[in-house]
Each structure stands twice: as C-alpha cells, then as structure tokens.
C-alpha cells in the first residue's frame, strides 16, 4: 500500500505523507504550496526538512502534524488516515503523541515557567498535583529546576527555548516537531538547544522532525528531505526521490 515502506518492516511508519498536495486560492490566484509529496518517517528517526523560505517545508510539517488539512492526498499517523479521525481524536492525538517547538516561543510571559510547561497536561485534563510533579521532573532534566516558579518574562532566550522544549516534552510525546528551533537564538545558545534536541532523540528514542533552512543543523540529522517550490528535490533516505535529485544535479 505504500511504496516507500521497507518490505522487511512490518510496523507502519510513524508519519506518512501520500501524494500530498496543498494549494491556496483558486484560478489565477492559485498558489501551490505543496505538490504531490510522498514521504515516510519511521518511529525513532531524526529528519530535517530543508528548503528556502516559501519552499513548502513549514506547510509539510503542519500537514504531518495534522495542524492543517491537505487539498489532496493523505496523511497517515501510525498507518491511520488522519482525515478519517474525528476532531476529538485528532486533538487527543496531537496532545498525547506530538510535542511542538516553534521559532517563536509562544510562552505566556506573565505566567510562571511551570504553568507554561504544564499547559499540554492541563489541556489533557490531568490534575494539578500530577501535572506539576511531571513538569518539575522535566524542568529538572533540562536544568531549569530553580526557574520553575520564575515568571517566563524574566528568562533569557536560551532558557525560554529550553522551557518551550520542556513544554513539548511534558506530555511524553513520541514525535517532536521543531520549526526553526534555533532561528531566534545566538549561535552559542542555539548549539546548546540543538544538543538538547538531539540528546532527546538519542536517549529517549523520540522521533524528531526539524524544519530548518540552516544547513549545519540539517546536517546533524540522520536524514534530510529537501524541498523546492513545493516538491521534494532530494531525500537522503528514499530511493523514490533519486530521480528528482539527479535532475537537480543535472541542472
């Protein structure tokens, strides 16, 4: 059913895009953000989605994270077509399975660090005691234990991004989507945050999907998917993209 799934792998891939297209507008104003993208990400992989601004990399991430609906094609999560799920089931899945790290922090500046970190747990309906305990654990693991009760506005940039990672980790997700995670940080702090993300992947087996235009960061990932004008031009792991890649080389 899926041409990119390895024959010797019986478990369905964690994330899968099948002939995925997304366009905005219609007629003369039609803009194709993504055209016929097929990609498969196995559980525990560390994947970089690379491309220039407007290449469709963020759109692809949003579709894979079920934050957006495709114009055509399918997104499958652990083999299940996301469109066949109810809104409730999708919410539940995003809450339980996914963690998000964005270029902008989206922290509630006036709230304490711990209240920011517990947000996904609060949404999940956990009790106050349990979710605060879990948040303290995660903060301690990220070296932010003593900042738990500080207001988010008082943190430095690196501490803010670590808080964001703690928030993404709080719900014990199986996949973390990171959209330009270091875009807002100086290179030293960015390196610390990168190390942190890769150690989560390495030590906890969390699937990492990083959207970036930073080639160095992309190079640290196991696999790079390069997008241009809404199409995959190279995928370091998928033979199906080779044709496109050689075309690219020929040009």
């Amino acid at each position: 059913m899926n041409p990119t799934t390895a024959v010797d792998d019986p478990a369905p891939p964690a994330l899968q895009a099948v002939a995925l297209s997304k366009h905005y507008g219609s007629g003369a104003n039609r803009f194709d953000a993504l055209t016929d993208v097929t990609v498969s990400i196995t559980a525990g992989e560390c994947v970089a989605i690379v491309g220039k601004s407007g290449s469709g990399k963020s759109t692809l991430m949003h579709l894979l994270a079920v934050l957006d609906t495709p114009s055509s094609g399918e997104v499958r999560i652990h083999g299940t077509n996301a469109q066949s799920l109810s809104a409730r089931a999708l919410n539940r899945m995003r809450n339980r399975e996914f963690g998000f790290v964005f270029q902008q922090f989206f922290l509630n500046a006036q709230q304490s660090v711990i209240d920011n970190v517990t947000l996904p747990l609060t949404i999940a309906g956990q009790r106050r005691g349990a979710r605060r305990e879990r948040a303290r654990e995660v903060l301690a693991a990220l070296g932010l234990a003593e900042k738990a009760d500080a207001r988010a506005v008082t943190l430095s940039g690196g501490q803010k991004q670590r808080t964001v990672i703690a928030r993404a980790l709080a719900g014990s997700p199986s996949v973390i989507f990171a959209d330009e995670p270091t875009g807002n940080l100086d290179s030293a702090t960015g390196a610390v945050v990168e190390d942190l993300l890769f150690s989560l992947h390495r030590d906890r087996g969390i699937t990492l999907v990083i959207v970036t235009h930073d080639d160095e960061l992309a190079a640290r990932c196991d696999r790079q998917i390069v997008l241009r004008d809404g199409r995959i031009v190279s995928d370091s792991a998928a033979p199906v993209a080779v044709g496109a890649a050689s075309e690219e080389v020929a040009r």
């Binding site: 902008q104 989206f106 947000l119 996904p120 949404i123």
Partner: protein, 445 residues
Amino acid sequence: MRTVDLARTAVANTFRAKLRTTLTVLALFVGAFTLTITTALGAGVSNYIETQVNAFAADDVLLVQAQTDATIAAESEGPAEWDPETSTSSSSQAGGAPLAGAQAEPLTDDDLDTIAGIDGITGIDPVRSVSTDWVSHDDGAKFEFSVNPQSAVTVADLDAGDQLDHNADDFQVVLPNDYLDALGFDTAADAVGADIVIGMTDITGAAHEVEAEVVGVSRSSLFASGAGANNALVTELASLRTAGIDGADENSVIAIAYLESGLTADELDAVTAALDDAGFSAQTIEDQLGIVTTIIAGITGVLNAFAGITGVLNAFAVVALIAAAFGIVNTLLMSVQERTREIGLMKAMGMSSARIFALFSFEAITIGVIGSLLGVGAAMLVGSGLGGALAAGPLADLEGLSLFLFEPASLVGVVLLISAIAFVSGALPASRAARQRPIESLRYE
C-alpha cells in the same frame, strides 16, 4: 481541560488586562447598581402598600348599608387631649372606619331580614354603635378615644403583641401606637399586657368606665381605623350605652353580611345586584381598598414620585446594560486579537474548539459576575443608608415603610440576568476564537 482549570484560567486571564477589565466591569456595575436600587425601591413601596391593605384582610364578608352618597372621612391628626368642656362624645361610626362618614339611614330589623334572605348570604351582623369618650392608663391624663366597631373584619398591622381574640370573654384592645407616648408607654412592647381604662357616657348621661387589656399595638395606618376592640368589649360598651333601657339601641347604619364561602366572582356580582335591587349598597373589602388605594395615591404624592423615579432609573439601568454589553464584546474581541497565538498554541496542543469557546465565555461571565456583585453590594449599602435616613427624616410619618426592600430572590436575579447578558455578549468573540485555525495563528513568516 478540566472545568476547574478552565475556570481558573479564565479568571486569571480576566485580570491580565486590569484597566480594560475594570472599565468593562464599571459599565456593568452601573447597570447592576441601578437595577438593584430600582427593584428594591419598587419592592419596598409595594410591600408597604400591601401591609396597609392587609389591615382589611378578612374574606367572605360584605359591608352593607342603605344607599347614599358616600363621603370620605377626613384624616385625623393623632389624638387630642380630652376636655370635658369642649370634647364631644366621639361616635365610633365616624371614627375613620371605611364606610364611616356616609350619612346613610339606619338599617331597620326588616332591612336586616331582607338582607339575610338574599341567596348567598349566610348571616348578617349589624355593626353595633359604641361611643367612647376617653382613655387613660395608670390614672394618668385622659385622651380622646374611639373604637373601630368593625374590628371583627379587620386585621391590624401590628407593631407588637397579638391580634384580637374575638372568642375571648375578657376585654381586649389593640391600641394605635400614636397613643403610646400619651399614655406613658416607652415602647410598643411595654404597652402589651397593660390595662387601660376607657371612659364613656350612656344615653342617660351617666359616666361609665371599662377596664380592658392591651393585647396588641397597631402601626398608625394610612387608613387610620382607630383602636380595635374584641367582640366581648364591643358588646359590653354597646350595652352600657343603652343603660339598660329597652329599644334604646339605635339601629346600625352598617351591617356585616357573611357570604357563603367559595363564591365565584359571578355569584358575588349576583349577590351585590340583589342587594342593590333591595335598596342597599354593598362593598367587598377589595372594593373599598380600590377606593382607598386611589386615595392614598392622591394623598401621598411621595409614593407617586417614587414610581416615576423608579421608571426613569429602570431606563437608565437598561441603557447602562446595553452599553456594558457592547463593552464586553469589545473587550473580548481585543482579548481574542491579542491572544491569537496563545489560542493557536492551545489548539495545536489539542484543545478543542468547544473548550476554547467555553474559556472565552467564562471570561465574559467572570466580568459579568464581578460587575453585578459589586453593583448589587454597593446598591445594598447605599439603599440601606438612604432608606434609614429617609425613614428617620422626611418619611417618618409613613410608619412601617422600609423604602428599599432587598429581596434575596431579586438580588440573585440581577446577578443572573447580568451574567446572562455577559455570556450572550461574549458569544461572538468566543466563537471567533473557537473558529480560529491553529495554523494561521502560528504563522510568523
């Protein structure tokens, strides 16, 4: 998200933009304050009138007299000291009783038989003439005194003590409270249980004294119906008056006709019509109240003015609440605008649209509850203060009047109404927040 967390988050968010929230709350405060004051004023005034009206609560009776042009007795200005030289014996039938002052022909025995024979009437009691001269307590000064012979069909608005017991053999009096000072009682409660002496003159000119117990003290009423006496006392006073001379009892002008219980309005009309044909006029207690309440409205322009003020204030309250509703819409729309990314983030993290809607609705309701509680509280403080000051000053004559009556049900009603208005106003911003697509909220390129 658990509901308790939702509520906690909503309350915290409400206080995030303090100035904006305060201004919106202020608009609701004005509405809640005005509405509470107005409602309390209406309740206070109508409660007062109802209490006055209850002085005529007995059911199933008609007051019957020969047909005449009724005139209304003048209001009395409290008791004047009795002076044997100038004071005339006060006739009880002119003592401010509802039909008193109507110079009708006395009812003959034949008349009474005719009335008793009409369908629907089970009995007839002529109101016996009693006339008293004075009252004194503890051998003190004597004051002019009249007894309301219709005590049997009225219920006094009591300040202290109990209603009359018409089946008792001892002599009982309900004393109007404007006699308290004159007779040397400090409080209404002091008077209850005291014995007073009533002086009268019989038809032969001989003076008599009757001792009676004060069982209750009545508030001076807008209807000024005089002292109440139980049946035993009325009978005693009436027999003393005739001085044992047969046939000396002049016939009564008014009689109380007792009706079959449970008459319908049509049946009652039939009885009244039959009496009319026979040359009598009959009035139910309610008929009289209609007349008397109209008189009150005329006499006490104060109450009328309040009714007008109440209407104007009500209009203000409605305007304030409409303005407040727009204020809430505006406040929450700004809030949704400002928190676009927060909403997007929460949706990305799996918060449902319904919960987002609930969150913003709850914020609207929080604003409504705060505004209405503050408004209701302030209204109660101001109303109690103002009511107390007016009752002690300009309105001291209207006894038993508490101008502002704060009924728990209407207070809760005001809070609920304003919370409901807040909820409705919050619906548009809340649904806008709920419809937001996470991806558009989180876009930043």
